[in-house]
Symmetry: C2
Subunit: 421 residues, 2 copies
């Protein structure tokens, strides 16, 4: 009756070594976010299928692990399709369940509500190196605050957490606003109904570069004059708060001044009060994929991490669609798995883990001696040391090597005749 | 497009207040277990359906949340039953995935391997008060150690964790051995093939008392002489290590002396070396439901907690059935949800949570004032305080009350004209 030993396709067993790093990173994040007044909450991993397929998750809705109905509710004979067979599924992100949570619990929550969530989500993506079908997301969201204080606090908290985890890696927060994105395109003459297509092209900047974007926009049939003006603007805008203000003046005919003022204010305040050391840059090419963003958007890139390690933005319409009551919302998500992977690849050692000692006793020691060994271990444990008590293996050298890999640095051996070091 | 606001049937949203207690209890448990040399690991929540339905989970296998196949693999037209529709399911415990994990990773793990797992499991049980379909299990297991050191360390670690979480509640560890259970029944004249039935009756002791057990055994058709002898023995055996040794002598014809010596040794050593204060009692009526136990079994009951708060035992045959290679194993599981529920009911306050301050500013303060408020908050956060910055609501009194419920004890107010306390 040998059974399947490997985990299910696309998911993984987590080793003690990786687990130590995961726990360390989680603890740093939690500690930092609590300092900023975020309250940790949790939603069930299983969510109503109607909620999961309500068109708020974009392409993620194609990747849902669906759960079979149970008992009398499952009727294979009358089922005409998948929808008759399932009643729920595994959540594909933490934002949709947060909306449901808020709708369900708002009466008992402070307003605004600052939520911290860390939990697994599931997507039946095509398996590929470094991407798994179960992975942890780590989100902070502020619900019910329409002011820029939300953005400011989210950026301060996320950058504080990142500097704590990776104190030696320089990083940059890039920031933009969906309204500015639109304002710039309108100003340059792109028609109103082409916005989505223009932004999908612009979003490829990372991969195809400015020239690639130019080529694709021309191929899509936009006027050369309009494309040239747009690219010039993207290249030449000053990427700081003053640049944002100047841009706002320029766009005054197509965008309310309030939008640029708001973004510049966020940048000014973050720069003034932040304790962490990072670059803050207005990035007029930042798009961010999810269509639910309505205002500010941000992304963090870190030296040596290739690609972004955190991202988020304002999504003022999403919760209202869910609950029928409009609720301003803004969130920031740390790329937990990405950070863990890079730390692992770099041989990161968790700092300040308790001293690890292994007490090895010879096979056949009498019970009084063994009790003495355990007693000594208990005393060390009381002082905070991590002490493993184990029988000496035949191949002691290999055993010590293995324990060394687990972080044991101190060994003490106990033999039959007497307690000798 | 209003969607379902409640969580799916039988699962729950976790509030910030409960989450604080959950995190506290988890941290205490993790810290203690790490001190004993347990390594935390994790398996995917999704497990192969073949593994989940391999008859190792007893009745839990009837309660599996099953996951629909995806893509081309799902063919409704040719499917003749549930088994054709699903390829996986949510784990119903952490022991089965641990066996798979060990089979998959043993080459890279120390031997013996001391595993710590904390994670959610799912059972589609009939919903009832205080029992949920998603709940956290918290297990330690020692794989590859056939000696009583495993039992001793498991009991020491679990009792250390419980005393840390509930320092004021007295608790008792009751211990027995499946072999002794059998030896006693044989000694009293129950036929060999009646063991399971006798133990199922004995296991009801909690509910029906000794008299109820007597009645049920007689009704099942066992001889009065045999039942009387058995009940006398259960009543009169001395419930300490000496009692176990004496019982061993008595059962010498039906059970190897080694069994009682081993149990007495575990009791002696735990009593001698433990740092925690608890009762340790041989309980000849302890059965524990799961059929996979092969030797020592134990359970912890705590004053004011009604029922057990932890339990476990030795299961030397289970991993072998899975992997084809016999591996001795012994585990102890803390009733995490039960402990959290009781702590909540008793109004437990998490000790040593950072000082919580709320900075409330009047609506419309200028941006320079607001930056000052945030800056002050950042300085307090650096010192370890938890600081919430929020706009003052119209109903300030209610806002403060609500924040009070969230644990905020200090309030500072900032107004338009100036910074005044």
């Amino acid at each position: 009756m040998a059974l399947a030993k490997k985990p299910v396709t696309g998911m993984k067993d987590i080793t003690p070594a990786e687990m130590q790093i995961r726990e360390y990173v989680m603890d740093q994040i939690k500690e930092t976010y609590r300092g900023f007044g975020f309250s940790q909450i949790e939603t069930p991993c299983v969510e109503h299928i109607e909620n999961l397929t309500s068109k708020q998750g974009g392409d993620n809705e194609k990747l849902i692990f669906k759960i079979l109905k149970r008992g009398d509710k499952l009727n294979l004979e009358t089922a005409s399709g998948e929808n008759d067979l399932v009643d729920s599924g595994l959540r594909y992100d933490l934002t949709l369940p947060l909306s449901r949570y808020y709708a369900n619990n708002a009466a008992n929550l402070p307003s605004p509500f600052k939520a911290l969530q860390m939990g697994s989500v599931w997507r039946a993506d095509r398996p590929q190196k470094g991407r798994f079908r179960q992975f942890v997301q780590c989100d902070i969201d502020i619900l019910g605050d329409p002011t820029s204080l939300a953005e400011i606090e989210l950026i301060l908290a996320t950058t504080a957490a990142l500097s704590k985890i990776c104190p030696d890696n320089a990083f940059t927060v890039r920031i933009n606003d969906r309204e500015i994105l639109k304002g710039m395109a309108l100003y340059c003459g792109f028609p109103e109904d082409s916005m989505d297509q223009v932004f999908i092209t612009l979003d490829k900047m990372d991969k195809i570069g400015l020239e690639g974007v130019e080529k694709e926009l021309l191929e899509s049939g936009y006027q050369k004059e309009c494309v040239d003006k747009y690219l010039d603007m993207l290249k030449n805008v000053t990427r700081n708060a003053d640049g944002v203000r100047a841009l706002g003046q320029k766009l005054a005919d197509v965008m309310p001044l309030e939008v640029s003022r708001n973004l510049a204010h966020i940048m000014d305040t973050v720069t003034e009060v932040s304790e962490a050391d990072f670059g803050l840059e207005f990035d007029p090419t930042l798009v961010r994929g999810m269509s639910y963003y309505t205002g500010t958007i941000f992304e963090v890139s870190m030296e040596g991490f290739g690609g972004s390690v955190a991202g988020g933005g304002r999504y003022d319409k999403m919760i209202g669609k869910f609950t029928g009551m409009e609720t301003p919302a803004c969130g920031f998500s740390i790329g937990f798995e990405r950070i863990v992977t890079i730390l692992m690849d770099n041989g990161f050692k968790v700092p300040g883990a308790g001293e690890k000692k292994a007490y090895l006793f010879e096979k056949g020691v009498d019970s009084i001696t063994l009790a003495g060994v355990i007693k000594e271990a208990m005393e060390e444990r009381k002082k905070g040391a991590h002490v493993l008590v184990a029988q000496m293996n035949k191949n002691k050298k290999f055993q010590k090597e293995q324990l060394g890999n687990e972080g044991y640095t101190e060994f003490k051996e106990f033999y039959k005749e007497s307690l000798k070091k």
